[in-house]
Amino acid sequence: MEVFRKGKPINKRRVLFVICCCILPIINWLIFYVFANVSSFVMAFTDKDGALSFENFVRFWEELNNPVSDIRIAFRNTFLTFGIIVVTFPLKVLVSYFIYKKVPLAGVYRILFFLPSIIFSVALAMIFQKMISVNGFIAQWVQDWLNLSQPPELLADSRFANTVVILHMLWLTFPGDLIIWGGTFTRIPNDVLESAQIDGVNWWKEFTMITVPMVWPTVALQMVLMFCGIFGASGAVFLLTKGMYGTMTISAWMYLQLYNLTGSPHTSNAYNYMSAVGLIITVIAIGISLGIRKWTDKAFEEVEF
């Protein structure tokens, strides 16, 4: 429906309707996205008093070259976590696939697998911390397995802390995105799958040669979103360790800058430094996401159904 038609009088009520629908989201976007990001860009190039300065970028470079700096550890852990997320991505798709294929008790699992997203992550982290404390069976088991003199403090020991944070993340995200994949797989026409079964196609060939190509737009979009979020890759660092014992990640570092300063943001240049770091990783992330988009466009031809 055209709002402005050439040669025809403007329907004022229609224009009012369009304005009503669009004004709020546009204003919100301009303030909380455009202005916020422009401010952040400017802050990256200024000190806390607003004077032009490149000290934030110099500081970033120095810290990146300092082997024990939080930033360096954060980059290392972020890439490690992201690598694990990439490797486990197909496994999570398979989890949804097997639920869709109705393995025994699939209906029960579909509900139980949502428990981590239903129960507050704060509560889950607290319970998890109690369960892996030195009094718990997990710490005892690690002590026996590695022949340690005493049960380890798994979240306060640099040998284990990062591994435990990542395992915690994998444990809670094991089911993957059941909502997205569940809805996606159910849209695949059954007759295609049935005829494939009649032709004697096994489950792996069905998955890789029929199912995945048919849902490739979803796979591609999820992969692009995954790579776009590369620097957001993190376990529950804030809740479990606050970044100590070698567990810091970029997103935890960013959050801690904000969390530690919200009471007195006027007396430090940490926001400016955070903006500078954000700008640098934005540039890197954009490069990666553009690259992955190109690859996903070429990898499979979209199947229309």
Partner: protein
């Protein structure tokens, strides 16, 4: 379909109305009335665990006594949220902040006149009632007072009397070397000597470390050089002060002896203070650094009846600074003599000999006696971390000051003490605090604090800005306590390795700290 539309419309209207209503302010806690002609003093109070009862009672008592100002408060447990609007003149409506540390004094009103006032019924000025060494930590670099303490407490090593008796330890350790010996004896008898808690902010050992650093370097150097970041030549800020091998190095060497994976309860590095305090009160653990609040905080989870409080042991390496005491055995004897005199069990004349003293048949110089006495009578406090201040742009500065005069008056202070069961670094202008309904632990902790001569805290307002706003910390934020007792051998460091690491961190971060305060 019709119902869906109605529900949606109702929902929208409700939410939009509520959000518009909310735009007018948070509401809820304000008890606004105009019986005083509309002049109010709004307090933003950090409920850090002391509860709100004492403040509630104080506000009521103050309001009842006069009719010029109506005082009320909003409480929050989020420490940094208390001061979220300071010093934004345009949006800040708070007249008195009772918060944690807020180093920015740019828009704080001075409190010199409050200190120099005498409350109704009192016999001394508020300044005279305050402990002089504590006031030294409250004075800013320009010589004025912009904040005063309203809470916190003293910290010391708390010990399990029953376990000490069981093992036959008759005297609490007087030196850090003796502390290690006590740990050994407890260990031999199947008792875990030590526990602590650890979180991202640190541990209670951080406070005792400050006392040991001050014992070794002397309070003058500690306050006027180290924390003023000023070297001997008067240059400030000076990186050399931060990287110099001073009392901090001695602290590391001392703590290396007893903060070990054998002596410290497993789990201490990863648990919160409530969990570890619960274990301390209920399991066979010998000692834990804790504060005046322990009894209050752990009410219902464990009795403090069997627990005592010891004076902070003296750093054994203080003998480096002494001329006539060169071994720990004599140092312990000297400390016993000093304690006996302080407790009134002996007269000082018993030990005096010529210009000096004689202890255990050995001649002790007067200078050495004074150094050790000063060291022995230092106590760790965190009062400077809980401070109140008045924004200078407040329209109720006068009212806030009147309330503070009441707060620190004998009448107000008694309300505080009766509710909290521990004292601020101040005394009544006349008489003593009534401790008749305090338990044994509270009395012992108060005795340790009251008998001390010097309050030690690194959170001094006169600290160089590199500490207050720059991000500098004495040990560069390095949690060496956790590293000394880490169960992972590769995480563990010796004192020398820890010192080298700390210096490296200071060298690496110094420029950034300076940049933060430009």
């Amino acid at each position: 379909m019709r119902n869906m539309k109605k529900v949606t419309a109702f929902f929208l209207v409700t939410v939009m109305t509520l959000s518009l209503a909310a735009c007018g302010g948070t509401g809820g806690d304000k008890k606004k009335d105009d019986y005083n002609g509309g002049k109010e003093v709004e307090i933003s109070y950090w409920n850090s665990g002391m509860g709100t009862e004492f403040l509630d009672e104080m506000c009521k008592a103050f309001n009842a006594k006069q009719s010029d100002w109506y005082v009320y408060f909003n409480a929050t447990a989020a420490g940094n949220a208390v001061t979220a609007t300071y010093p934004l003149e345009d949006v800040d409506t708070i007249d008195l902040y009772m918060s944690g540390e807020v180093p920015d004094i740019s828009k704080k009103a001075t409190l010199d006149d409050v200190l120099d006032s005498t409350a109704d019924g009192d016999k001394k000025t508020i300044r005279e009632k305050f402990d002089a060494s504590h006031l030294e930590s409250e004075v800013a670099a320009d010589g004025h007072y912009y904040s005063l303490t309203w809470g916190g407490g003293a910290l010391a090593i708390v010990y399990n009397k029953k376990l000490f008796d069981k093992v036959g330890i008759k005297e609490t350790p007087r030196t850090t070397d003796e502390l290690a010996v006590v740990c050994d004896k407890l260990m031999e008898n199947g008792i875990t000597p030590l526990t602590h808690y650890m979180n991202d902010a640190g541990t209670y050992w951080d406070y005792i470390q400050e006392v040991w650093q001050a014992q070794y370097d002397g309070m003058d150097y500690y306050r006027n050089n180290f924390y003023a970041c000023k070297d001997e030549a008067g240059n400030s800020p000076s990186k050399d002060v931060l990287t110099k091998k001073d009392g901090r190095y001695q602290v590391l060497k001392a703590m290396e002896q007893f903060i070990t994976p054998e002596y410290v309860l497993p789990g201490s590095n990863s648990q919160d203070h409530i969990t570890m305090q619960t274990k301390f009160l209920n399991e066979d653990i010998g000692m834990m650094v804790n504060g005046s609040w322990l009894s209050n905080e752990m009410e219902g989870t464990g009795s403090v009846d069997n627990f005592g409080v010891m004076k902070t042991p003296v750093l054994s390496s203080i003998t480096d600074k002494l001329s006539t005491v060169k071994n720990d055995a004599l140092l312990r004897k000297l400390i016993s003599a000093i304690d006996a005199v302080a407790d009134g069990k002996e007269e000082i004349s018993k030990y005096q000999s010529g210009d000096g003293y004689v202890v255990d048949g050995k001649q002790i110089s007067a200078a050495d006696w004074d150094i050790v006495k000063a060291a022995r009578n230092m106590v760790a406090v965190n009062y400077p971390q809980q401070t109140l201040f008045i924004p200078s742009y407040s329209d109720a500065v006068e009212g806030a000051k009147e309330f503070l005069k009441f707060f620190y008056s004998d009448e107000g202070y008694k309300i505080f003490v009766d509710n909290i069961h521990y004292t601020l670094p101040m005394k009544l202008s006349e008489g003593e605090i009534d401790r008749s309904d305090w338990n044994g632990f509270e009395i012992e902790m108060d005795d340790v604090f009251q008998k001390a001569e010097t309050c030690v805290s690194r959170h001094m307002k006169s600290c160089h800005d590199i500490f207050n706003n720059g991000g500098a910390k004495p040990y560069a934020g390095y949690k060496f306590v956790a590293m000394f007792c880490a169960s992972n051998a590769s995480d563990r460091m010796t004192a020398d390795q820890a010192w080298d690491y700390i210096v490296e961190q200071i060298e690496g971060n110094y420029k950034n700290w300076l940049a933060n305060i430009k």
